[in-house]
């Protein structure tokens, strides 16, 4: 009886986190992998892993970071398993190109393309800062870097985007 109630509460807790953070998980996965189909697979794997290890999470306040860390690891596992090659921007598959689906706003289109072309080391901290609202300390922790390295990467990422956007 008691274990049944615990199981129900556990499922409620899981559904609550997923409902709130699913969008963040997907967008993070999409910008890590640069591929919509892979992002969906990674999120599915991450949800399974989160379900299995839910009891390790003790604080609601840590849920977002915990889930994004799982997404990051699942993305790395996915690429390890598949041994995918670096994306060639001029030869995209359909699901890679879908990430860059044309917007009505040309500036937005150009920016999405420019972010897509950033190296992983620059794109990821930018996503964590701008999209996920992480501080540079939190990014350093997530990416296992020193804070100084994070600041440098963010500085360079914006400089690259600024240059790209300034090109005619």
């Amino acid at each position: 009886m008691q274990s049944n109630e615990t199981a129900i509460l556990r499922r409620q807790r899981f559904d609550e986190y997923v409902g709130v953070y699913h969008q963040d998980m997907y967008r993070y996965a999409a910008w890590l992998s640069r591929d919509k189909a892979i992002a969906e697979d990674v999120v599915q794997e991450a949800l399974l892993r989160a379900w299995k290890s839910l009891d390790a999470l003790r604080e609601d306040a840590s849920a977002k970071q915990w889930l994004l860390t799982i997404v990051r690891r699942e993305n790395a596992r996915y690429f390890e398993r598949k041994r995918l090659e670096t994306v060639d921007i001029d030869n995209l598959t359909a699901s890679q190109a879908a990430l860059l689906a044309v917007e009505e706003d040309q500036e937005l289109d150009d920016m999405r393309q420019a972010i897509y072309e950033l190296d992983d080391e620059y794109r990821e901290p930018l996503v964590l800062q701008v999209l996920m609202g992480y501080s540079t300390n939190e990014i350093a922790e997530q990416m296992d870097l020193k804070q100084g390295a994070v600041l440098t990467r963010l500085h360079r990422a914006r400089a690259k985007l600024r240059d790209k956007m300034a090109q005619p």
């Binding site: 997923v18 709130v20 299995k52 849920a63 937005l108 972010i115 600041l151 963010l154």
Partner: protein
């Protein structure tokens, strides 16, 4: 701080709020900061991809005995059973107290539990959170918030009753005051709440509500008026 240092700091984090002295004297750096903030707005829009409908995978049954690790030492069955029952009960009670997705008797109970589990938010501080962080936690499409309620020393997106809500802390006269903006949490009327060392109120505001909690000696009525004046729902 010179122009180069300032621009590096701004490019790494446009919400950087140091170097105010330099910026007030350097119009070129003022323009640079404005440009970086504009660039960040475009980056943010570009990163916000459309998200497909959520499909939750088939989740395997989890044996509830896995929730806690029991000792591997062999024990006689009665002792093992008694201890296992105690541990499971403790885990269950622990979950209820932690506010981790469990059902509470009332919204007030959940809010008290939530505040209780973010003690690091309740620091006396004279350092405001950056505008950029505040914009992220209280996005323009959710609410407009001016700074008239007081110095905001903490801003975090939290989950209350299954919904994301901005959790802010301002500095009151007797200590930190917690504010939770709940645009989708409708209440029928003001509801007073008393915790162990704190008191608070949930106020109906439009189709939502705002919860305000402070020390027992804090003059919350004055803060309530200021908070209500400083927040406008956009939803």
């Amino acid at each position: 701080m010179n122009c180069e240092d300032y621009r590096e700091a701004i490019a790494a984090d446009p919400s950087f709020d140091g170097g105010a002295g330099h910026m007030s004297e350097c119009s070129a750096c003022q323009a640079y900061r404005k440009e970086m903030l504009e660039l960040d707005r475009t980056i943010s829009r570009a990163l916000s991809l459309n998200v497909p409908e959520l499909i939750v995978p088939d989740l395997p049954d989890i044996d509830s005995s896995n929730v806690v690790a029991l000792s591997k030492r062999r024990m006689s069955p009665p002792v093992w059973l008694a201890m296992a029952a105690t541990v499971v009960l403790a885990a269950f009670v622990g979950f209820r107290m932690m506010g981790t997705g469990v059902e509470y008797g009332s919204l007030g109970e959940e809010l008290l539990a939530h505040i209780d589990h973010e003690p690091y938010a309740l620091r006396v501080s004279d350092k405001p959170v950056s505008d950029a962080r505040l914009d992220r936690v209280v996005p323009a499409e959710l609410a407009r918030l001016d700074h008239s309620a007081g110095l905001i020393s903490y801003a975090q997106t939290c989950v209350v009753n299954g919904r994301k809500v901005p959790h802010l802390v301002i500095q009151g006269e007797r200590g930190p005051v917690t504010i939770l903006l709940m645009p989708d949490e409708m209440v029928s009327g003001p509801e007073s709440i008393t915790g162990e060392n704190i008191k608070g109120v949930i106020l109906p505001v439009g189709d939502g509500s705002i919860a305000i909690f402070g020390e027992r000696e804090e003059a919350l009525e004055r803060i309530e008026r200021k908070v209500l004046d400083s927040v406008t729902w956009k939803t």
